[in-house]
């Protein structure tokens, strides 16, 4: 069964460093998303991406964040200068079409900023 994959599973970085989180969405999906979940809290939407551009972003997704689909398979989230409060689990998701029946979530990347 097709699935969303994410790498790395765990990333530890120092405050102020840049990190890139990688995702490979399901191959025939067109819509891509990033969510984050701070430990013990609910899942929060960050950004959605379609047709090589951002279609929607939340207040959390400020200038420190960027997304890219550098090739036909990868979807990346970059945090330019990490802060302590960026520590969270980051989930990538994909769906086949807009207002999809389901968004399929990857296993997540745990980001720890020290």
């Amino acid at each position: 069964e097709p699935e969303v994959t994410q790498t790395p599973s765990h990333q530890v970085t120092q405050m102020g460093q840049e990190v890139i989180l990688r995702c490979v969405p399901i191959s025939n999906h067109l819509y891509f998303y990033w969510y984050r979940q701070i430990l013990g809290q609910k899942v929060e939407f960050l950004v959605s991406f379609y047709n090589n551009e951002i279609s929607e972003k939340s207040e959390i997704f400020d200038d420190q964040f960027s997304v890219e689909r550098p090739d036909g398979s990868n979807f990346t989230l970059k945090i330019r200068s990490t802060k302590l409060e960026d520590s969270a689990m980051y989930f990538c998701a994909s769906s086949g079409h807009s207002k999809a029946l389901e968004q399929y979530f990857g296993p997540g990347t745990r980001l720890t900023v020290t």
Binding site: Y31, E102, G108
Partner: protein, 111 residues
């Protein structure tokens, strides 16, 4: 601002018992999703409820949607330990692709 609230936040129940988790949301939406999350793991899709009055069942879990009341329920029948997890409901507001998640209900089933 759209709010999605779940009740209760924490539920400890004995095996064999029944219970219901409630999900209230503050804006119109014709679709509601239920996800399960095990500790340290990703979100597993359980149910997609597409219209008012929708009811879906899978094993010991049954989900329903009342769009007029902006309420969804997840009913657990004869709970077993394997159901222990955190359950999230999520809503997709009109004119948007994002999901707004509820606060989550952490379920613990004990013998």
């Amino acid at each position: 601002e759209l709010k999605v609230e779940q009740n209760p936040l924490f539920l400890s129940m004995q095996e064999g018992k029944n219970y219901t988790i409630y999900c209230n949301y503050s804006t119109t939406s014709d679709r509601l999703y239920w996800y399960r999350q095990d500790p340290g793991k990703s979100l597993e899709s359980l149910f997609v409820l597409l219209s008012n009055g929708a009811v879906k069942q899978e094993g010991r879990l049954m989900a329903s949607l009342d769009t007029k009341a902006r309420l969804s329920t997840l009913h657990i029948t004869a709970a077993v330990h394997d159901l222990s997890a955190t359950y999230f409901c999520a809503v997709d507001p009109p004119n948007t692709d994002k999901l707004i998640f509820g606060t989550g209900t952490r379920l613990q089933v004990f013998p």
